[in-house]
């Protein structure tokens, strides 16, 4: 199963995902990581954490749907999407809880 690296930005707490050397707010834009890529990405994530850019760096399981990574667990889908009860705050319109 592929993984995506995620964190929360230190200065505003917003959930972010790793995309080829930078952080993006949309999980659908994140880079899916295979086993070989995980270690290198995590090293970069931890470096950003040490630089006080992000906190709580970690990995989540994703499945590819139309080549886009979608978290497999509901909690992670909610975390990526925004509260399911506030349509005005949803971040990834084409992803379902």
């Amino acid at each position: 199963m592929s993984k995506v690296m995620t964190a929360q930005r230190l200065h505003d707490g917003i959930v972010v995902f790793w995309r080829d050397g930078e952080w993006t707010e949309s999980v659908l834009d994140a880079t899916p990581l295979d086993e070989a890529a995980v270690e290198m990405a995590m090293a970069e994530g931890r470096a950003d954490q040490a630089e006080n850019l992000v906190i709580d760096v970690g990995l989540i399981d994703v499945q590819l749907q139309a080549d886009k990574p979608v978290p497999t667990r509901r909690r992670e889908r909610l975390r990526a999407l925004g509260p399911s009860v506030r349509a005005d705050l949803v971040r990834a319109q084409d992803m379902e809880i």
């Binding site: 230190l10 200065h11 505003d12 707490g13 959930v15 975390r79 509260p83 399911s84 009860v85």
Partner: protein, 548 residues
């Protein structure tokens, strides 16, 4: 209302500047996240599922219109234009940026507010009857006691690192609207015909993963000895409460493992020692009088006539949401934050400003937050009720459902909370959307409470119907319990059976109501019916339907 003196203001202002420095050091890297976390939590700032969440203290649920306007403005400037009122009579903002939180707290301090002790293992915001000072059945205004406790417990060095968080509730009425039986300490203000003014003291109640009702530890405590007695309880808890296992660290576990009698003996022994050996912490009558004067509101004269109103929905709203006041020409008005199909406890910035305006026009500029996540205007002239109702309709705040099936308490659940195992709000929405006024009129009073995990922030243990969200092999599932109550007849709800899916919950609620209505005697609440007929008829109907 209580107003800060120079010392109060100095403490809060100094705390903002201390926190500003802490945030700056965190952003610069001088503090690690591990070092910063306890500091931010001491100022009410959590890191939640989508970002930071700030919990702001509303002491004993009382707000001025000026403070509510400030909260509205803060929600616009620092958040996403809304706030969430909680079961601890507080408000939470779900989207503040860490970098802006010092300015947010500075804006709060300008209106005598803060977020101190809204998190951490300390004494939290003291809660009370939302009709305090306005209730027809109270002995005295319980906020006097609350304010004395607030001043004693704020930044109390001995009780800053308790085994676990600590919650105190105060009621001054025979009808308990503060849920004292499920608090770490419950205080009932009494006026004993022989012994005079004082308190009944309860301890060891609580919800969470193991729910207990509080035990009566002192039938009568003279008013003058309140703080020394509370201090004795806190010391016994601080000394013997478990610190090795956070799930067994609340005072309810201590009281129930020692036994209420042994716990009480220990408290009494400690109390006698405090009285004999130390300078008393108890406040003199003059201080009770000084604090009491802040709450001594002189209401202007009002005409007795109540305007007739044929405005659609007015009669039902008046019958359901208007509560008797200590003066017959006035009323307490509950403003429901439970629109049918809506999010329990949320209010937009515009709604908060609108309520502040109505408090100025109709309610002596005072607002209360209830532990059932509604607002109250406590001093409304009955002749103004129809005008107030019309204004509330304009704000989408005229839902007539106090204590009805759609007046559901729900925690934020997995939509916002990192601890939750399941969502709460969509369940509340799916249930409340099924009830209209006529059906609720037929059903009568019914309290449904939903928690998204065993921490029980949605008070499901004391719901007439309690719903607990659990994770069952990766799926959101819901365990139903019935027969709970949070008032003077407090009872813990009993689990009905196996957990069911989100889709099955609304029909199961319908089934419970149908059985209750079929079995109930005249005026009987659901908990009373459950006590009388047991769980079996409910189980048969619910699980018969679910499996059909």
């Amino acid at each position: 209302m209580y107003q800060y003196d120079a010392i109060d203001q100095e403490i809060v202002d100094a705390r903002v500047e201390e926190y500003r420095d802490q945030v700056a050091r965190r952003l610069s890297g001088a503090l690690t996240e591990e070092e910063f976390r306890p500091l931010r939590l001491m100022n009410g700032l959590y890191l939640q599922l989508h970002g930071y969440m700030l919990r702001v203290a509303i002491p004993y649920g009382t707000l001025s219109s000026r403070q509510l306007r400030a909260l509205a403005e803060i929600s616009r400037r620092y958040d996403k234009g809304y706030g969430h009122f909680t079961t601890r009579q507080n408000i939470q903002f779900n989207w503040p940026k860490l970098v802006e939180t010092p300015d947010l707290l500075a804006d709060l301090a300008k209106v005598e507010m803060h977020a101190i002790q809204t998190s951490g293992n300390c004494i939290r915001n003291v809660t009370t009857d939302p009709f305090a000072g306005a209730a027809a059945d109270e002995v005295e205004d319980p906020r006097i006691t609350c304010e004395i406790i607030r001043q004693w417990s704020t930044l109390h060095p001995e009780f800053a690192f308790l085994p676990r968080k600590f919650k105190i509730a105060v009621t001054a009425s025979p009808h308990d609207r503060a849920a004292i039986a499920v608090h770490d300490i419950g205080v009932r203000v009494v006026d004993d015909p022989e012994e005079g003014p004082g308190f009944e003291i309860w301890a060891g109640g609580g919800q969470g993963r193991a729910a207990y009702l509080a035990a009566l530890v002192r039938r009568f405590l003279p008013r003058a000895r309140l703080l020394s007695y509370l201090e004795a309880i806190m010391r016994v808890y601080n000394r013997y409460g478990r610190r090795d296992n956070k799930y067994k660290a609340r005072i309810k576990i201590l009281v129930n493992s020692m036994g209420a009698e042994a716990f009480t003996e220990e408290v009494e022994r400690e109390w006698q020692q405090i009285l004999a050996e130390e300078a008393p912490v108890d406040v003199p009558q003059g201080e009770w009088d000084r604090v009491g004067a802040f709450f001594d509101l002189e209401l202007p004269p009002a005409q007795e006539a109540e305007a007739d109103d044929t405005h659609p929905g007015f009669a039902r709203w008046r019958d359901v949401n208007v509560v008797p006041h200590r003066r017959a020409v006035y009323a307490n008005v509950v403003i429901s934050l439970k629109p049918r199909g809506g999010i329990p406890g949320d209010a937009s910035a515009s709604q908060m400003e609108g309520v502040a305006e109505l408090a100025d026009r109709f309610g002596q500029s005072e607002i209360r937050v209830t532990h059932q996540q509604n607002l109250v205007l406590p001093h409304v002239r009955r002749r103004d009720l129809s005008a107030l109702h019309r204004a509330l309709v304009e704000l989408d705040l005229a839902t007539a459902n106090l204590d009805q099936a759609s007046d559901i308490i729900a925690c934020p659940g997995m939509d916002y909370c990192t601890l939750a195992n399941a969502r709460s709000i969509p369940i509340a929405q799916s249930i409340s959307a099924r009830f209209d006024e006529s059906r609720e009129a037929e059903i009568g009073k019914l309290n449904i409470k939903i928690s998204g995990c065993i921490n029980a922030c949605g008070h499901h243990h004391v719901g007439h119907i309690g719903i607990l969200g659990i994770d069952k092999r990766g799926e959101e599932s819901y365990q139903l319990a019935i027969g709970g109550s949070h008032d003077e007849n407090a009872a813990l709800a009993k689990v009905l059976g196996r957990a069911i899916s989100a889709e099955e919950v609304p029909a199961a609620i319908d089934a419970i109501i149908e059985v209750w209505m079929g079995h109930r005697l005249e005026g009987e609440t659901l908990p009373r019916t459950v006590q009388r007929v047991g769980l079996v008829p409910f189980k048969e109907k619910v699980y018969g339907f679910v499996h059909a």
